[in-house]
Symmetry: C2
Subunit: 496 residues, 2 copies
């Protein structure tokens, strides 16, 4: 299939148009978006000399081990990230999956040019006490226009971690209120909570999954189990951890085996809930990603998630679906949980990244019963809501979810073909929409492939122990897929 794509496209026209580039793609993209660049263009190794100089400078201020290179965001456009050495890369990682419609989208610049919007950037309110007059309208235009089924309530937050932290708090509060009944907290509840003791600070837990990632603040981190580097040396809470299904791919070839694996995990979840309730540390909520992203793009079936929700319901646990990475359209639906085909997907759905603002949707009964229980100074940032309104307009106007579905099919088919072509090197191609991944032979090879790809003008990221995750923007078209597959094929050929 990848070879089909190769032959379908002209290999020469782009090369001639990009003089001065050290590496140019062999595929001519169709310039459907005139503000996008027409291909990668590499001028130096990456990081180049200008990045190296800045790395030294920043190293005096911060740990720079994780820095890839320094960017020229002014010159970046569409699917292309330009660095400070003038290298232009096709971005299939998009700032850890957080750029929804590419760099410098004209719609977002237009918003900035409107003088009516400036005050929103200049005056950041304490949203929980003094919201701007248009706050509810902007929520309706932005977040509520894409609210998950069954949810009409949303709380904004600044980032993914504080979204999950506050979602957990909402689940604890709801659980205790239900347990307590109409009487309200006792004097003992109130005095003991001030010194972190029971019953005011109850010994409730959140059940999470091995391989899950829900952020790095201490509450979130107690539910994150993807990589040791995230957790090492940080005190934690002893909470129940269930196995997440380890499915075999392609899913349709292993339905029986995968169903058995999912049943095993569900049984374990239910056992844990019962055990932990028996030891006086009940599970107030279950948190799960629709696709474990950071943990290695681990999928599970719609049935698995629906059964998990049923188990939660049966035992009085809230069901929290963390869509921080999966939300925003990359799976071909706005929320990954829409693939489950149910109108009652969850009790609480958190988001951030492509949504530009953090936050969470929730059902009515997960709303805190009093003000100031879910609260902080900023409670989000209305300037991010402004951008989100425009992003959603672009997604609708340009039918980007359909485009993602189309590009995603081409990407997955291409990965299948490459996997067939390089059987010792690649395995487990998988994905929904463009939210795809593939496994590499081993971690050192993965690292080399990522660097080689970058030198050839494609920016990728890893996840899990030996996966590469594909996280392009929603404007990643079929011709970008073809361009990517060709370059990726070139890279892989060197590892055969």
């Amino acid at each position: 299939m990848a070879s089909l794509l190769l032959t379908r496209l002209s290999l020469h026209s782009l090369r001639s148009s990009l003089s001065g580039c050290r590496h140019v793609s062999k595929v001519a993209p169709q310039a459907q978006m005139e503000w996008d660049y027409d291909g990668p263009c590499m001028k130096t190794a990456v990081p180049g000399p200008s990045s190296m100089e800045r790395l030294k400078q920043l190293g005096e201020i911060q740990n720079v081990d994780a820095i890839n290179f320094f960017c020229n965001y002014e010159e970046s456009r569409g699917n292309y990230l330009v660095d400070v050495d003038g290298n232009r890369m096709l971005d299939v990682y998009t700032q850890i999956s957080s750029i929804p419609i590419g760099y410098n989208h004209p719609a977002l610049h237009k918003l900035m040019a409107d003088p009516n919007n400036l005050s929103t950037f200049v005056n950041r309110p304490a949203l929980g006490i003094l919201p701007p007059g248009n706050f509810a309208d902007k929520l309706a235009e932005s977040l509520l226009s894409v609210a998950p089924s069954g949810m009409t309530r949303v709380q904004t937050m600044a980032c993914g971690s504080c979204s999950n932290e506050n979602a957990y708090k909402a689940m604890f509060i709801a659980y205790r209120n239900k347990e307590r009944g109409p009487g309200g907290p006792t004097q003992e509840d109130i005095s003991s909570c001030m010194i972190n003791q029971e019953p005011g600070c109850p010994d409730l837990t959140i059940l999470s999954f091995m391989g899950g990632f829900h952020g790095r603040t201490m509450g979130c981190l107690a539910t994150t189990h993807s990589k040791a580097i995230h957790k090492l040396d940080i005190p934690s809470l002893d909470w129940p951890i269930a196995p997440f299904p380890r499915l075999q791919y392609p899913l349709e070839e292993f339905t029986r085996e995968n169903a058995a694996e999912e049943a095993r995990c569900l049984e374990e979840v239910e056992d844990l809930i019962v055990q932990w309730r028996q030891k006086g540390r009940p599970v107030a909520g279950i948190v799960v990603e629709p696709i474990q992203a950071e943990g290695g793009d681990n999928h599970a079936s719609a049935d698995f998630f629906k059964s998990l929700h049923s188990i939660a319901r049966k035992h009085g646990c809230a069901f929290h679906v963390d869509e921080v990475q999966t939300g925003g359209g990359a799976t071909g639906k706005f929320w990954a949980h829409e693939h489950w085909g149910t109108d009652d997907p969850a009790d609480i759905v958190s988001f951030s990244k492509k949504l530009l603002t953090g936050g969470y949707y929730h059902k009515n009964d997960l709303q805190a019963d009093k003000g100031y229980r879910i609260f902080n100074t900023w409670m989000g940032d209305p300037s991010k809501n402004l951008f989100l309104v425009e992003v959603l307009n672009v997604i609708r106007r340009e039918n980007l979810l359909e485009e993602v579905t189309r590009s995603g099919k081409a990407l997955l088919q291409g990965l299948y073909a490459l996997q067939e072509q390089y059987p010792g090197l690649l395995s487990r191609a998988r994905g929904q929409g463009t939210f795809c991944a593939i496994d590499i032979r081993d971690d050192p090879t993965r690292s080399k492939i990522l660097l080689k790809a970058r030198d050839k003008g494609v920016l990728l990221g890893g996840c899990g122990e030996r996966s590469i995750r594909f996280r392009p923007a929603l404007i990643f078209k079929e011709y970008h897929v073809a361009l990517f597959l060709n370059i990726f094929n070139d890279v892989l050929a060197e590892f055969k």
Copy 2:
């Protein structure tokens, strides 16, 4: 003294200039800043009909118990917040102390008008891996230009809570690295941390103080002990909590008593450190505010903080000074800890609010030894650094720290005079710069005073059990103080 202020100023000129206002101030401000309004102007009760309508609308989406009213940020200027009903209030609370140089400052609008800056707003990077080319320069111009003594390193974050969460993580990591020596983590460290168990997730603690506030995510919340509403029903970590001095005011009249109280608390701190180490749960860090803000504007002396730092040093605990609310100039120095007169104030200093971006400064040995240990997707927001550069320029150009010192003196003298005038109603006037507070007879009276003041065009906030905190912007001049004191005097007269 307040009466002195009253007689010094014309009581009539303002009233005549503000026709159509239900309540006008009796003091004529000197219009030193032409972009600022010249006084409050009240047209309706607050919340007015337009706010009430929006409250109902937002109530369908969120809990609105804490909402005061809805704002017209476009029309707000300088020290004045305008609401959607056209009421204009002198803002002495500034979005929970987070607006540094007033609303719609021309310098910030000028920044927004520069097309070179737009890309920074439109393209939010993952700063930890792909920073913009000017990132180190912007840090140097902004945060590093006001770095606390002894600190050349700074890590940006999105908000106050994640600043403290990550500061705690940095302290835990440094503590374990020191404990472990050069060998690095064991296989057992790495495998146990994945399931939240020791030794990988060690049983280390942070020592905090009763009355302290450090945020509301779960790590921060374990060190927050100001109000039950913040903590009730949220599981916590059992960490040591020390008493914070309960001083008598004015400080200079009770030096002996206050010194004894501080000595008692310091002794308790040292006892706790020893006890908790003995039970195998060592204190990795001590966190403290220079003035306990949320907890009631509780002060302690420079000697107290210097001794606390010595105790931390002696026992190998990191010393974390949380300047989220105190930082940014309101005490008359950029950092409240500068009042301690030491060139080694802390190992780590966190900030947010008036700094517009969250983050923390730290000494070299508190830098994580590897990348991705202190990390999240955004790691702050460079557009906030842009604003901060301008805010700092304005502070320097307009000598705002001197202004704050001058206004603060007038404010505190005025509060002393009022306290003398209303002895049964007011007590414990205290403050540094304009970062002042006063206690009210009881909580219900405080609530009434806050509402009355708002109706007369002054926006204030409470803190602690029965205090009012004053948190004006840095552009709050002496004539704003006079204006405020007059209105406050009017309000208090009704409670005599």
